[in-house]
């Protein structure tokens, strides 16, 4: 498959996933996995279907300024949202802009989550920006970015 075709397909799948997070779980995962070398821009295009995402203070991305260990970097994303059937956060995407594969995780939420928050821990290959792209139920996308300095901390 040509690289461009792959991105196109990826964009399409992401859009479908955003409409119905409950669609066949395994199939969706298989299609999205693909080759693990998406650049940051390609990944954002894939997630937003080329629309891009707007920076917003509604998105609170929490990562350490200095990570004491690149193997375990805490990331928390919280989005201001009522999480009702008509107005909710459909998905939270976490991207490590300079990792070999920028995509870390896509989290598809539903109003049943009650609160738009996701937290995990990621590996960072080096100092870089960590970004989140958030898909809202009205079809728009928000984003936030923060730099993380990765150091080799302490002894051993």
């Amino acid at each position: 498959m040509q690289r461009r075709d792959f991105f196109k397909q990826l964009g399409a799948v992401a859009a479908v996933a955003a409409i119905s997070p409950a669609i066949s779980f395994a199939d969706e995962a298989k299609k999205l996995s693909g080759p693990n070398d998406l650049s940051y821009k390609a990944a954002v295009d894939a997630i937003t279907g080329g629309k891009g995402a707007e920076e917003s203070s509604k998105v609170n991305l929490k990562v350490p300024e200095i990570a004491e260990n690149g193997a375990v970097v805490p990331v928390t994303v919280e989005v201001e949202s009522p999480m009702t059937d008509s107005d909710y956060v459909k998905s939270i995407h976490i991207l490590a802009t300079k990792n070999a594969n920028t995509r870390c995780i896509d989290v598809h939420l539903t109003p049943s989550n009650g609160k738009a928050m996701f937290a995990t821990r990621i590996k960072l290959g080096g100092t870089q920006d960590v970004a989140t792209v958030v898909a809202l139920s009205d079809g728009t996308f928000l984003t936030a970015t923060q730099n993380v300095k990765v150091t080799i901390g302490g002894c051993g």
């Binding site: 996933a17 997070p21 409950a22 779980f25 395994a26 969706e28 995962a29 999205l32 996995s33 693990n36 193997a71 375990v72 970097v73 490590a96 990792n99 070999a100 594969n101 995509r103 870390c104 995780i105 896509d106 989290v107 598809h108 939420l109 539903t110 049943s112 989550n113 009650g114 609160k115 928050m117 996701f118 937290a119 995990t120 821990r121 990621i122 590996k123 960072l124």
Partner: protein, 111 residues
Amino acid sequence: MSSRKSLIKIKPKSYKDGEIVKVSFMVMHPMETGMRKDKKTKEVIPAKYINSVKFDYNGKVITTMNVWESLSTNPVFTTYMKVNGEGKLSVTFSDSTGEVHEKSIKIKPKG
């Protein structure tokens, strides 16, 4: 179904019906990227990472995730959920080698 060790935590421990609680799923998993070499043998350690996770509450899918190799070893997935009656919360994941694992806990709101 694998016997991999995992844990689901609900916070707070005691909650009411309708309350929004924090849910964490933790699992012992290597999350191998396929890019690391074994220090002794110099051979590439094959990729093995979780690629999808699903939270089910009483048969209703609450959250699904597509996961890549950048998540840390022994990963943690934390989100919220609205308690909606007694029942079961199940977390299922599959990894890049086809391993599947499921962990469940009882949801028992008080009052």
